[in-house]
Point group: C2
Chain length 343, copies 2
């Protein structure tokens, strides 16, 4: 089959590799119907050291089950499924808490930007879409694909921040996760949503999804702008969808005392300010992490099927899997918001 592998910064290649097979009795092999490139895929695209052995890329997919191991139940051949970006057993105490991304039998899916994909812990991980492949239009398929990661990552940010009616929420980042966070915050009842971003086409979609204000400034100027918009009080909730240090600093800068910063951009730093001058002094709460999208799938699939929710609008380009390198280039250069890859 054809699959996308990364060999170093800027070096994504599509190669012919052996088809994946069931390795463990708990595995399934899925024929990929739609995959895509994630903002987090751009981190190795920027900084991965050159290497001999390519790393299979892609962790978002909607597909059809091709084969299952002997211990897999609940999903079977021919089912249309959403593949969460993290696999998990869905039965342990941590999964029952709703934190599937920390499941002791779990891990991260890789190799979705390909024709076929092996998914471990298939019973606990895959969720079937009623109606199957033939019952789903292309726009709905795109929205289902966002439940694999991007939309539910934005939703997780809002859930962890406990966004509720009346809240003022600031979203940092106008990428696909940031825009998803806007949509999720709106659905949870946020009264005011300030989107910090500078790409007009993106912030326009953000406005359509519920942003009441857009702040293009960054750093101290951005903080001052949010302060002014909030009568000097700051924002009760900040959803941080970037993962770089300036976004973190902006987060506690615009936060109202007693407020919540919820991070879902994978942090590209380990150390950060958490002392009196940043978090502690204002009783800030810092939360967030890799979204346990599995916990949210059953609730969201029906909303997508009846088009109550159309997060698939984050995809502004679509390419065949052979052009995955071009998909990375388009996203890296910000020519595209999010690129779908179709085998």
């Amino acid at each position: 089959m054809r699959a996308s592998l990364i060999y170093g910064a800027g070096d994504v290649r599509v190669e012919t590799v052996p088809d994946p097979v069931v390795e463990q009795p708990t595995d399934a092999v899925v024929r990929v119907v739609r995959a895509c490139v994630c903002g987090s895929d751009l981190h190795p695209y920027h900084s991965l050291e050159a290497r001999e052995q390519g790393i299979p890329m892609g962790h978002e997919a909607v597909g059809v089950v091709e084969e299952t191991g002997s211990e897999v139940s609940g999903v079977g051949e021919g089912d249309l499924v959403v593949v969460p970006f993290a696999f998990s057993d869905n039965t342990c105490p941590i999964c029952r808490d709703g934190f599937h991304t920390a499941c002791p039998h779990g891990g991260f899916v890789s190799g979705a930007q390909a024709e076929y994909l092996r998914v471990p812990q298939a019973s606990g991980t895959l969720v079937t879409v009623p109606g199957g492949r033939d019952g789903v239009d292309d726009d709905v398929l795109a929205s289902l694909l966002t439940l694999s990661d991007v939309y539910l990552t934005g939703y997780h940010a809002a859930v962890m921040a406990r966004v509720r009616p009346g809240h003022t929420v600031t979203v940092i980042g106008d990428g696909a996760v940031g825009l998803s966070s806007v949509l999720a915050a709106k659905r949870l009842g946020a009264e005011r949503i300030i989107l910090m971003g500078r790409h007009r086409a993106r912030t326009d979609l953000g406005r359509e999804w519920g942003a009441t204000d857009v702040v293009a400034e960054r750093g101290d100027e951005g903080v001052a702008a949010v302060e002014e918009l909030t009568d000097g009080l700051g924002s009760q909730v900040v959803l941080e969808a970037v993962g770089h240090m300036p976004a973190y600093e902006q987060s506690h800068g615009v936060l109202r005392p007693g407020g919540v910063i919820s991070r879902v951009g994978v942090p590209q730093y380990e150390l950060a300010g958490v002392g009196f001058g940043s978090l502690f002094g204002k009783n800030a709460t810092l939360t967030g992490g890799p979204a346990p999208v599995r916990a949210y799938l059953e609730e969201h699939i029906p909303l997508v099927l009846d088009r109550t929710l159309e997060p698939g609008r984050v995809f502004d380009r679509e390419l065949p899997v052979g052009d995955t390198p071009e998909a990375y280039r388009l996203m890296d250069s910000r020519e595209a918001l999010k690129v779908m890859v179709r085998p």
Copy 2:
């Protein structure tokens, strides 16, 4: 009057200084009935650079109102009052949110280890104890004094962590704030309370107040011990009552994925690990800050007056104000848990 001033590490002196007076129309002057030394007073006692001008010490007090400014209402001469360690207007949006320690008209009380104390924003800050000085026994007076800071700081830790029935809570630190956190967690319904501390007399009081397990080990060994006690899952809540980096690292080490670390020990660091390997990967929530004790006073004074709550038991020594330097020495050497100072 006599007052305690610090001139550098290890150098606390009691000196005769001018009596405080009403400086602003919103001030009150309080005759101190009981004051005490705080764990946070030990930070300058360890590290303050030697200086010419002494800094007035002490921010915890119960006293009798001596004089009020022309704009003070709600409290008057002769009232027995609890003085929160932070003053605030109690009317602004931040105070209405319950985060009085971030009030834009607020600040920290200083100079309570003395005979008299000036309290700014007296209307918003002071809370009257029904019955007055003559209606209150010494043990109740001690418990009232803990509402000025130490007990309600422990309570704030538990509130910010949203401790609820059934929770497993780990408390790091067996100082007076740590023990207060145990008592507060128990009152909020925690099922299991693991106290990390190594001073037998203190952990014994912790057990009496609700600790179900005591772990004396620190660092990796301490983390392993908590893991073993929790079937490898970790603790849903960690209340961190120390403020030094090893306690922070221990906090995320023992935390269950999706759990909450609530800090009330004033952090003696600004930078800390918050990335994938510490907080983000396990969807940890980090919260806490200076306790807005003012928000909790009305609810707690009656509980102390009828002895439902006896947090005053943290005081194991009592000295006249002239011996404040000895009070610092006793607490620093850990010969005393918490020392009350009586003018």
